[in-house]
Point group: none
Chain length 249, copies 2
DNA sequence: GTAATTCCTGCAAAAAAACGCAGAAACCTG
DNA sequence: CAGGTTTCTGCGTTTTTTTGCAGGAATTAC
């Protein structure tokens, strides 16, 4: 990995997560801690980041006070994303939906990972594109402006041609009885096709959305292989899903 | 292998992968490391790549390093965009390439316009999405990270299925003798398909790029219907294009 | 207050770049 | 076509950059 590449990656991470630990960086990029420290120092001298003991902060950090709820659920989503990343292995074909949880997943991908990611969500694709080693496949079709995702028969046909190893679904509602439900008809059609095509379906859901229901049905619990939430796997509210044969992380 | 060949190959590799290692290049082309270094230096002096210790990076890597030229040519590009917008009418199907000139076009679209825009360029699509009445169709395929555009046989096949009314091409180089040329092989394939499919081809080019040549040919002058630059239509440097039967705006 | 990180300094090894040079190829030019 | 010039390429040497490591100082955590 070239020095400039490394620094660009660090800068991206800092801007993304607002903070970065030198210890975690050096395991991610697989260089010595001294190298990281020197990189941080250079970036700090250029005014791009703020160096602190143990890592670095984004410049925007001390300016703005965050919306409280935003940060809170973002933290939960990061926990989910970290768990999800563990399932991805080199060489895999990974199909993902859109949504903020998937965005977080995209941001948490380790830089040395080599895999192919497929999606029709513009924001998610943008995030994948920052990654140094990931191949990005974009599903084309008409764009739904509010969900920023491609929808339509062409997109569904393309998905049905594939057989990805993993499918990560950001879920709007999941319930023990009604399964996964959503509120956008076109997005649901797409998700159905994604589930059908994929070898393994992984649902990402923050605890807040567990046992909630939306008007349109996506799939039943039997179609889900793995459920990831920010809660520990043994939590009582998750027992019902484990009992249905879903691997709960 | 000739020097020009070698440099074209290097440039292609850089544009394809966003980075290149001099060590790997010299085993690929089978020349000494000094030769590679000299090539990289020349390309860097011409501003085509960014040379770093151990190799070189694509210029799109930094993206935010065009403050001077950026603002300057942005004004020219806006002039071009304004002229181009005049060609678009309600109900039209418009196919566009990527590039900063097309970005400017996207920003200049009048808000009451109702049309369908098709592109494989992510930044351009993002701009179209802001428009209230425009239908946006995204061409899907593998994403080329440096040009931020979808490239590949799927994308080309999709384009060939369409028959858009207009095709706006951002051009990297146009010359009276050699026609339109470019430096990214995959993007050229795409542009060729776009030209073939469209009823009317409109080239957008800032004057700076007139009578310049890039390694790979896109099309001849006879394939172009309209040429738009920031210069007034009667400018001497444009006469040769008008003489070739192109409508010059 | 103590233990554990983290940081800094100097240093050394490896890699890459710069430099000068010389042989070879290409290219004028009369 | 012959002689001269320029350009290109590879080699050896020197210089610079980068990176990791060790040991002591500074900072933080408990």
């Amino acid at each position: 990995m070239l020095k400039k590449e490394r620094q660009a990656y660090i800068l991206h991470q800092v801007n993304l997560h607002n903070k970065v630990l030198s210890s975690s960086l050096c395991t991610e990029i697989n260089v010595s801690e001294d190298t990281i420290r020197r990189d941080l120092q250079e970036l700090a001298e250029e005014g791009k980041i703020i160096k602190v003991h143990g890592g670095a902060l984004s410049h925007s950090f001390n300016e703005v006070s965050f919306p409280v709820n935003g940060v809170y659920s973002q933290h939960q989503k990061r926990v989910i994303a970290q768990k999800a990343v563990g399932l991805i292995q080199n060489g895999m074909f990974v199909l993902t939906s859109g949504g903020t949880t998937i965005m977080e997943l995209a941001r948490c991908l380790p830089p040395q990972l080599r895999a192919t990611f497929i999606s029709g969500s513009i924001p998610v694709i943008l995030e994948y594109m920052h990654h140094p080693h990931i191949e990005v496949i974009l599903i084309g079709d008409k764009i739904s402006k509010n969900s920023k995702i491609t929808v339509g028969s062409e997109a569904i046909a393309k998905i049905k041609q594939m057989k990805p190893d993993l499918c990560f679904l950001g879920t709007n509602a999941i319930d023990a009885e009604h399964g996964v439900t959503d509120n956008d008809w076109e997005v649901v059609q797409l998700k159905k096709a994604m589930i059908e095509s994929s070898k393994k379906v992984i649902c990402l859901s923050i605890a807040e959305k567990i046992n909630t229901i939306q008007p349109i049905r996506v799939c039943g619990l039997s179609d889900i292989d793995v459920l990831i939430t920010e809660l520990p796997p043994g939590s009582p509210s998750l027992n019902v899903f484990a009992a249905a044969g879903i691997r709960v992380l």
